[in-house]
């Protein structure tokens, strides 16, 4: 037997985790954000159950502010995988017209944190897969693969269950739920290499292309829907064509673009390896509340 490579070991581990959840949870769901990590996680789920389709639906907690290319890929991947796609919009956020420009962090709270809680409660899911990785952020480095949430979706970092060997304890009381992170042990480079090795479809926004951009509060953003932008900003920002790509994908007004010429997967990987700023820097969310931003958000129920 040849020795397993690091990607083969990671893949086998993730598949084992995904199957454990399918076997032990009452009603699992896979959170699908359409980013590259979600793409890898979905691919692993398809591998775990082949020739069956994964025995759980995909859930997209949508903010209505995602890039158009993300909605396109989302629908295509749901069809390809044979999985049911559930899309949830927080009705309150919709009604109040919450948007990233006027409402700052409230946008994330309402659409994503609240939206996620509402969606999980609405469908009664007791286990939700997420594509977070431990190398992304400090508080995630200590989070378990099976991470418990109280009935109000809070996370208690001081009271985590020990995880030994590959034995996961999925027992929980009524009302409690689990977030499961099957690609916890993958790094950003692992994810890219695996996408390359397995030809996994990802949103074209990861690749550089000439796109309409505007500057806002010191960052470079893509003008994905200029009419809507004008409506929310109250003015039409100056739009210039630039060759840009995204290192991470979220809501288009919250996700900073980088100027780049990397238009193929290998070029993107090359740029990633040579770059000196970390992945989440383009996202505004981690900067709240000093170094503990993500930890606080997680305690409140953010994924």
């Amino acid at each position: 037997m040849k020795k397993l490579t690091h990607l083969e070991r990671l893949e086998a581990e993730s598949i084992q985790i995904i199957r454990e959840v399918a076997a032990e949870a009452d009603k699992p769901v896979m959170l699908y954000s359409v980013g590259k990590d979600s793409a890898v996680m979905l691919h692993l789920a398809r591998k775990a159950f082949y020739p069956s389709p994964p025995p759980f639906p995909l859930l997209h907690v949508d903010t209505t502010w995602k890039f158009k290319a993300m909605y396109d890929l989302r629908d295509k991947m749901a069809e390809m995988s044979g999985m049911e796609l559930l899309v949830y919009n927080n009705p309150e956020a919709k009604e109040k017209g919450i948007n990233p420009f006027d409402h700052g962090s409230l946008h994330t709270d309402m659409w994503k944190t609240e939206g996620l809680k509402q969606a999980l409660d609405k469908y009664g899911f007791d286990a939700a897969f997420g594509g977070a990785r431990r190398d992304e952020e400090k508080s995630r480095a200590k989070e378990r693969i099976f991470s418990f949430r109280t009935s109000s979706h809070g996370w208690d970092p001081k009271n985590q269950r020990p995880e030994l060997w590959n034995l996961y304890n999925a027992k929980k009381a009524r009302g409690e739920s689990i977030r499961v992170f099957p690609i916890s042990n993958w790094t950003e480079l692992d994810v890219w290499q695996y996408i390359r090795l397995e030809n996994i479809p990802i949103v074209p926004l990861y690749f550089a292309e000439k796109r309409p951009t505007f500057e806002w509060e010191g960052g470079l953003f893509m003008a994905d829907d200029p009419e809507r932008l004008e409506k929310v900003l109250g003015y039409m920002p100056e739009i210039t064509e630039k060759s840009i790509r995204f290192r991470t994908l979220g809501c288009f007004p919250l996700t900073g673009a980088v100027e780049s010429e990397a238009s193929t997967l290998t070029e993107v990987i090359q740029e990633t390896l040579l770059t000196t700023t970390s992945e989440r820097q383009g996202r505004v969310i981690d900067k709240d509340a000093g170094g503990a931003g993500m930890e606080v958000k997680k305690q409140q129920g953010y994924f």
Binding site: M1, H6, L7, K47, K142, P157, L164, N169, Q270
Partner: protein, 645 residues
């Protein structure tokens, strides 16, 4: 920024990335992986070492470095210099305390390997975290402060590594810069450690003199320790050793084939496969297999994956296996090579590491998860506890948080297993508290007990306490009393449902199941009513002896009778629940039309009409049904009961 020694590291910045990214990626797709733990005492510099490894392997980005430089000035312990430990100490609370309190996982790459590091705290009360980190590690780096030498903690960490079967051990003698890179100091520590290691059965380890802070012997051999190149030493820097060391757990592939079944894959009637991750050995189509515990045999027809059928699959791979015959196989089964199956048994001697604040309760039933099997298991009083500092065997009645001990255990059915030293996956298990669902212990099976050797505590009479412990509860009688139509049965039913949902073992005694059988010789005269209550009291007592929570719903109008039952039971186990509904309300409801009949004289001795009701003077629980809904009343009763337990 300027103060820190930022030697360009030789192994990471690869020109290939810039010049020929495709070759670089091809090369990196074939890397292997090494998982290791770092363990040491609080100030041995673990976090600093890991921070250094990340830093030297360019896993720290510029923005993180800027943040780090800021944090270092604010809360760092290295003056104006970069405090690497801050990179690694994740959670806000512990950053303030200045200690790592949990297992954190870190990642870095070199040309040859991807590394996953479990950062394990050395703090006394956190043995459980080290055990957790060691359980998935191929190698352990045990840190020693060169100024302090082999400490009690060093012994404990080494013992845990040995216990968990971590076969590769690196003894990193850190802070060599603070002892002037002295060879004598290093040699003394090496000799001390060797003596101890041999005494606990660690045959091999690799010792190296390093400084995580200064970077000596981390990525390149240090000029400060020229003596380290002498043949009696390893003579390699830490990274090089980590990159090249043989991962001994990979010999799992040479053991007999075993795969615990996780999930039965059945997309349609024509396909039935068994999915799992291969624990040990290799499997090929046409291999004869045996399914445990049933012992049925068949032949592998194909090994299915998303990427096509495989000619062979080995330890560590996640696959789906199909058989030529339709034999019984489901989650929890273990598929094995036909002629060398693992054992099955239901009594074992195991070593336990207790991981919960609440100590082990001998005799209590816990969930035991071993591989994909989930069974109920009880642990006997420990044979002994191991003092992890001195390795002495101490007498113990129980195991407390962070203690390690050996005890016998029984499972409620036969499980498929192998001793932990032979097979981590089929010998390692966790225990889960049935009430709190917490993972309370890690265990390693040493061996099974022959059927003739009864587990010691089974031979003694089963006591009242053991009955209750097995059910994880304190027995009690919830004695409902109140007028006819007051809502006793409705609320009692709700209470039982709620308790049942919470995994409590209960039994509801009411007129329906008692009057028709046990008490069918009794009528409704005063003496018969007293006898009725006495019998119900005796039955309740027997049921509490069996460990149950008994709920009774009888009018039981007389104070003296209720006191009689109270006196039968141990202090605190009788809870009088007064369902307080005024007569006029009960009569107005008159669900069964009994009041009407009684008023019409068709029913004699009817409580409240022509027979008195003595309300409890000091009930444990009083429910005012004019204010509380049945749901609210049931919640109140359950909360009071469990708050009391």
């Amino acid at each position: 920024m300027a103060d820190i020694e930022t030697k360009e590291s030789a192994y990471v910045v690869d020109k290939l990335i810039a010049e020929d990214i495709d070759s670089y990626l091809d090369q990196h797709e074939h890397k292997t992986m090494l998982r290791f733990i770092t363990c040491g005492s609080v100030d041995d510099g673990k976090s600093t070492l890991i921070g250094r490894l990340l830093y030297d392997s360019k896993m720290i980005f510029e923005d993180q470095l800027d943040a780090l430089a800021n944090d270092s000035k604010k809360v760092g312990t290295q003056g104006q210099e970069i405090d690497f430990a801050l990179l690694v100490d994740g959670l806000a609370a512990e950053r303030e305390q200045g200690i790592t309190i949990d297992v954190a996982y870190r990642f870095f790459n070199t040309e040859k390997r991807k590394f996953i590091v479990a950062d394990c705290p050395g703090h006394e009360q956190y043995t459980r975290n080290m055990v957790t980190g060691a359980s998935t590690s191929d190698l352990a780096v045990i840190l020693i402060d060169a100024r302090k030498g082999v400490l009690v903690q060093t012994r404990r960490h080494s013992y845990i590594c040995k216990l968990l079967g971590v076969k590769n051990i690196v003894l990193a003698v850190n802070k060599m810069d603070l002892v002037d890179y002295s060879q004598e100091v290093f040699d003394k520590i090496l000799a001390d450690y060797r003596e101890f290691a041999e005494s606990i059965g660690i045959e091999n380890f690799t010792a190296m003199p390093i400084s995580g802070y200064k970077g000596d012997n981390i990525t390149t051999l240090s000029e400060n320790t020229p003596w380290y190149k002498a043949p009696e030493y390893a003579g390699v820097p830490l990274i090089e050793h980590l990159e090249t060391v043989e991962v001994l757990t990979s010999d799992d592939a040479d053991k007999p084939f075993r795969m615990p079944v996780q999930w039965v894959n059945r997309p349609n009637l024509d396909f039935r496969g068994f999915s799992g991750q291969i624990a040990t050995g290799v499997v090929k189509p046409k291999d004869k297999i045996r399914v445990l515990p049933s012992g049925k045999t068949s032949t592998v027809s194909k090994i299915v994956t998303f990427d096509g059928e495989l000619e062979e699959a080995g330890a560590g791979q996640s696959v789906t296996i199909c058989f030529e015959d339709e034999i019984d196989c489901s989650r929890g089964s273990v598929i094995s090579v036909a002629d060398a199956p693992p054992q099955t048994a239901d009594q074992f001697e195991s070593t336990f590491v207790w991981m919960a604040d609440e100590a082990m309760v001998p005799g209590r039933a816990y969930w035991m998860k071993i591989g994909t099997q989930m069974v109920s298991a009880s642990v006997a009083e420990p044979k002994y506890e191991i003092n992890v500092n001195t390795m002495e065997e101490l007498a113990a009645k129980t195991l407390e948080l962070n203690s390690i001990g050996v005890a016998e255990m029984t499972t409620d059915k036969q499980i498929v297993f192998e001793p932990y030293t032979e097979n981590r996956q089929l010998g390692g298990f966790i225990l889960i508290d049935k009430m709190t669902n917490a993972t309370v212990a890690a265990g390693m099976i040493n061996f099974s007990l022959r059927r003739s050797q009864n587990v010691h505590w089974q031979a003694v009479d089963i006591s009242r306490k053991q009955h209750a412990d097995l059910k994880n509860q304190k027995p009690a009688v919830l004695w409902f009393t109140g007028l006819s139509g007051s809502g006793k049965s409705t609320i009692a039913n709700l209470v039982e449902k709620k308790l049942h949902r919470m995994n409590r073992h209960t039994f509801l005694l009411d007129g329906d199941n008692v009057r028709h059988g046990l008490n069918k010789d009794l009528g409704f005269t005063e003496s018969d009513r007293i006898e009725n209550i006495r019998r119900v009291g005796e039955v309740s007592k027997l049921m509490t002896d069996a460990g149950l929570i008994v709920i009774t719903a009888f009018i039981s109008p007389f104070q003296a009778d209720r006191e009689l039952v109270r006196a039968m039971l141990p202090e605190g186990e009788f809870l009088e629940v007064f369902i307080d509904t005024p007569l006029k309300v009960a009569e107005a409801r008159d669900v069964k039309g009994l009041y009407k009949k009684a008023r019409a004289g068709e029913l004699k001795n009817f409580t409240g009409i022509d027979s008195p009701y003595e309300a409890p003077r000091n009930p444990e629980i009083r429910v005012d049904t004019t204010k509380l809904s049945p749901e609210e009343a049931a919640d109140l009763i359950v909360d009071t009961l469990l708050g009391d337990v």
